[in-house]
Symmetry: C2
Subunit: 247 residues, 2 copies
DNA sequence: CGGCACATTGAAGCGGCTCAACATCAGTGG
DNA sequence: CCACTGATGTTGAGCCGCTTCAATGTGCCG
């Protein structure tokens, strides 16, 4: 059960719930479970049965996969205000596909999958919103797949830095790393040592300037030009083969 | 406009359309565009505006990304009977995130995104089906992400071989590669040479037996044990940190 | 049979990893 | 206030896996 006004506001204004009727909302809220986790707590384990999805009220959550030999792959860092594990509820066998860990003290609000599904059946608007949301996620995974296979460590770092720039379209920028470098390294699937060397590499070449956690980029364009991002191929790519119009 | 009975049957029985009313279906069918492509034809380019999604009537379609320096990453191979680019219609800026190429002579049926969205607004059942579909896709991408970062080339190949086994749960199996080895290599993000060496590696160790395009696996379990798949960590993983129940 | 695409095998190179030492900084307690 | 400590970040050296380049082998269709 949700108690505080702060929680109500957070939920009500979240796009996931904004199309619901008053009644449906009340039902979901009545069933919602707030829960606190200390830093480093394991919130869920991959393979656990999933009966709820979560909204992060405060703190940051790390989603990751872990392989049999103990190596982990950081999939995503969920900041406050965002939901996670919402895609799981649409699968037949509902188990968490990833582990979740609290990076800092975290407060979550858990919603019942069963209840949510029941309301979705009568609310195409929210379904469409969710579809949009999941399309974006799918697209992001695609970007990451490409980045991982087509770009080397330094390029991945450069793209990450650019993605952290708040002011889109600015010429230059100064950013402060929101996470420990070792975590960013994990997010980029590189080792901390390699991360450090990549930073040094960019610094030596004058593309960035780094002082501790603050990194300034004299020219964002230069950084991007150097490591051309996954853009559409030139217009002359494999030109010539055209489709026939009708079967 | 759809003409042949064969096409109608294919469409009507596809889960994407199975919940639609007769009337909605007729509207979609009236607008559907069949189209043929010769082998190697470029069907769509990443960045192209997307106004339709496609059902593959016959042939195979390769979805891939291409980077500025020409390296390509094969994202997926779509066989006959499946749709692609259906996730794009839910995004604001509707452009194809990948290139598509006909691996063989291909016949596609294209459906209007606009029309489909309009019908989805009145059909939560299909929305939910689509959500389920996209959850699975999201999950698959996750698997691939993990496989790419956590497993080496030989392990990836082993997992691929196992995934190609038709008879789930059988002790041993014999499979015939449905695609040229160089394409499978690309799908696994390894070079053909490495693919070849990986096959040789498994053969030398008695885990598989390969004669040209036919590969037999004496014991599927052995193959999996060797390269323990991304399974849930042992029950003792980071035990101890428990959540407090209430805020 | 020739020709060509596909596949295999060898040798060398390179990028990122591992291991190890050292630096830096924050927090702690004397 | 400073010495101690542990976490985090940096730097160096060597190694390993995959790629690259190049040569050779194999199968298919003219």
């Amino acid at each position: 059960m949700i108690s505080t006004q702060e929680q109500r506001q957070l939920i009500i204004h979240h796009p996931m719930f904004s199309h619901f009727t008053e009644k449906a909302l009340e039902e979901l809220l009545a069933d919602a479970q707030p829960r606190d986790y200390p830093a480093q707590a394991l919130i869920q384990r991959q393979g656990d049965p999933a009966e709820r999805f979560y909204l992060v009220q405060s703190g940051k959550v790390k989603l990751f996969r872990i392989s049999a030999d103990g190596k982990e792959k950081v999939v995503e860092i969920i900041p406050a205000g965002r939901t996670f594990a919402e895609a799981v509820m649409f699968m037949q066998r509902s188990v968490f596909p990833v582990c979740a860990e609290a990076l800092e003290p975290v407060r979550l609000i858990g919603f019942s999958n069963r209840l949510m599904l029941r309301h979705l059946e009568q609310n195409p608007q929210t379904c469409l919103h969710l579809l949009g949301h999941m399309s974006v996620r799918l697209h992001q995974r695609l970007d990451e797949l490409e980045t991982l296979t087509l770009q080397n460590a330094t390029q991945r770092l450069a793209l990450y830095l650019v993605s952290q720039v708040r002011d889109r379209g600015a010429e230059s920028a100064e950013i402060e790393l929101a996470l420990p470098k070792s975590l960013i390294a994990a997010r980029l699937s590189i080792k901390p040592e390699t991360f450090s060397r990549a930073i040094a590499n960019l610094r030596d070449r004058g593309l960035i300037d780094s002082r501790a956690r603050v990194i300034s980029i004299p020219s964002i364009q230069n950084l991007l030009d150097e490591f051309a991002e996954g853009q559409t191929p030139g217009p002359d790519y494999k030109a010539g083969v055209i489709a026939t119009d009708k079967p």
